[in-house]
């Protein structure tokens, strides 16, 4: 059996590990355009912050590929999928045959049309280690940086560079920072913290760029030396789409990560997931989700029977010592606790916990995540107690007997 994996990120690594757990002999080939040993993508901001380095960023040990008998074709780009011949074509024309194929092609930065952007010579994205290295070369104490996009990527970039440059400005069309994960109150707490390090221009956008100046729609001007565009990402679906596989916004798969093409699987940021808290398909470009999908795909590629059925959005983001943990969907009734620096908001509907926002109160948040991922009926727990404080006391004695006292024959499992 020959397994080919396109990608070298979280989903790809998880799939390779799952394949090897079931099939010690099959051939595994990993193809990726990035030339690096696998690394934790979200670590690039921590790299600029000085909290990690190239060595510690490695997502797996140096001998990962050799230990697992994986042939690596890094620095090579897959440009075509031929599902009839079961071959992948590389940019240099080489053709690689497969019995089972995984597309873990990730996503790429989205570049919206912005007038005059071509006049800006020092402009960057913030997705890859190469992006971080290129941006790092431009950082110095006199530089002014403009970041377009106050989402997760833009603000993690802000954190990474704030102490290495003269000033940072951030522009976003939304009325608040982190609009996809925070409501107004939560965003306010975080924004007040970040305003010590950056100037924000919200409900605003760039009308036109000159070489080192942005003219905003509001009439304001922002002078800068370095521009970072972080307005969003787009899934890399082209290989599958051009081969005739089903794609919506992301690659469509069943709950075993099978695409509509025979023996072709997909996992990670290039795919859509069924968000159990929303009851609809979404692109969940999040590292844990990529791992869950990749592991599921790998198991099935090697002849197993895995199903990934409890995808949910979830984010853990920190800025300068503040911690924001969120998960699920912001629908239904709510429970709130507010203070100057902390915020808890729980969302519940149909007798289930649907989502939560926790700002600077991370303690035991996973108990909430577990409730919503597993769609636990709130009648089974003391939800009034859980609202105030996540704890196992609010669960039944039999749940605790199984989970803590080993009452279940299977021993401790995560769910």
């Amino acid at each position: 059996m020959k397994y080919v994996i396109i990608g070298n990120g979280t989903a790809a690594i998880a799939a390779a590990e799952s394949i090897r757990a079931r099939d010690g002999r099959g051939e595994i080939v990993m193809i990726a355009d990035e030339p690096y040993h696998t690394y934790g993508r979200p670590l690039i901001s921590y790299y600029l912050l000085g909290k990690t380095d190239a060595e510690r960023m490695k997502y797996r040990a140096d001998d990962f590929y050799s230990e697992n008998g994986i042939e690596t074709l890094f620095g090579k780009r897959a440009v075509k999928l031929d599902p009839e011949k079961k071959e992948i074509v590389l940019a240099d024309g080489e053709r690689i045959g497969y019995d089972r194929l995984l597309l873990a092609t990730g996503s790429r930065p989205f570049d919206p049309p912005m007038e005059g952007i071509e006049r800006v010579s020092h402009r960057f994205h913030f997705m890859t280690f190469a992006d971080a290295l290129a941006l790092e070369k431009e950082l110095s104490p006199e530089k002014r940086v403009l970041i377009v996009g106050a989402g997760l990527i833009g603000l993690k970039c802000l954190e990474g560079i704030a102490d290495r440059v003269a000033s940072v400005s951030v522009i976003d069309m939304a009325d608040r920072i982190l609009p996809s994960v925070l409501d107004a109150y939560g965003a306010g707490i975080v924004q007040r913290e970040l305003e010590k390090r950056a100037t924000f221009y919200l409900k605003d956008s760039v009308a036109t760029f000159e070489k080192d100046r942005a003219y905003l729609k509001s009439g304001k001007q922002v002078a800068f030396d370095v521009l970072v565009v972080a307005v969003g990402v787009r899934p890399n679906v082209e290989l599958l789409k051009e081969a005739g596989g089903a794609v919506s916004r992301g690659i469509l798969t069943d709950d075993g990560q099978r695409t509509t093409l025979q023996d072709v699987y997909a996992a990670g940021d290039c795919t859509e997931s069924y968000d159990v808290t929303a009851g609809s398909n979404k692109i969940l470009a999040l590292l844990p989700n990529a791992q869950f999908q990749g592991a599921c795909a790998g198991t099935n590629m090697a002849g197993g029977d895995a199903h990934f059925t409890n995808a949910v959005p979830m984010n853990a983001i920190g800025f300068f010592g503040s911690h924001i943990l969120t998960a699920g969907s912001y629908v239904g009734e709510t429970y709130e606790e507010k203070s100057e620096r902390t915020y808890k908001k729980l969302f519940y509907a149909d007798g289930k916990l649907k989502g939560f926002i926790l700002v600077n109160m991370p303690e035991r948040a996973g108990i909430y995540t577990s409730l919503l991922r597993n769609a636990v009926p709130l009648t089974e727990v003391d939800f009034e107690a859980l609202k105030r404080e996540p704890g196992l006391m609010a669960f039944s004695a039999s749940y605790r007997a199984e989970k803590l006292a080993g009452a279940a024959a299977s021993g401790a499992r995560e769910e």
Partner: protein
Amino acid sequence: MKRIYVNEKWCLGCHLCEYECAFANSGLTDMVKALKGKVIHPKIRVEDGEEVHFAVNCRHCSDPICVHSCIAGALSQGADGVVGIDTDKCVGCLTCVLVCPYGAIMPAADGHVAQKCMLCIDNVCGEPNCVKYCLNNAIVYEERD
């Protein structure tokens, strides 16, 4: 593997396990120096109800969601089943805190990394110090699976 199991009917809620945990991980040999007047950050925590008390620490799950979710590759499961954390690699993002269904992984005292129970194989005790000093066998360390 050997795991810590809870007998909640025997737990008095004395919280001694929390102090023994903090002591074991303090790197000090004098308990008074290690703990007196200090705010402790144990890796085990006792939940107290009106009648019920019990201790919770890492279950060393056979399918550990914290390991799967770690963005840095800092959490891993050894061949012995122990879920360990490499604090050199951890960047303190708290994704593990976001996913642990037991609330058994938490920010470390300095706030920069996460911490979790490693069954005292990462300190001089070698075996769980919380279990060793539990007066009532409300937590035990046993091979059951």
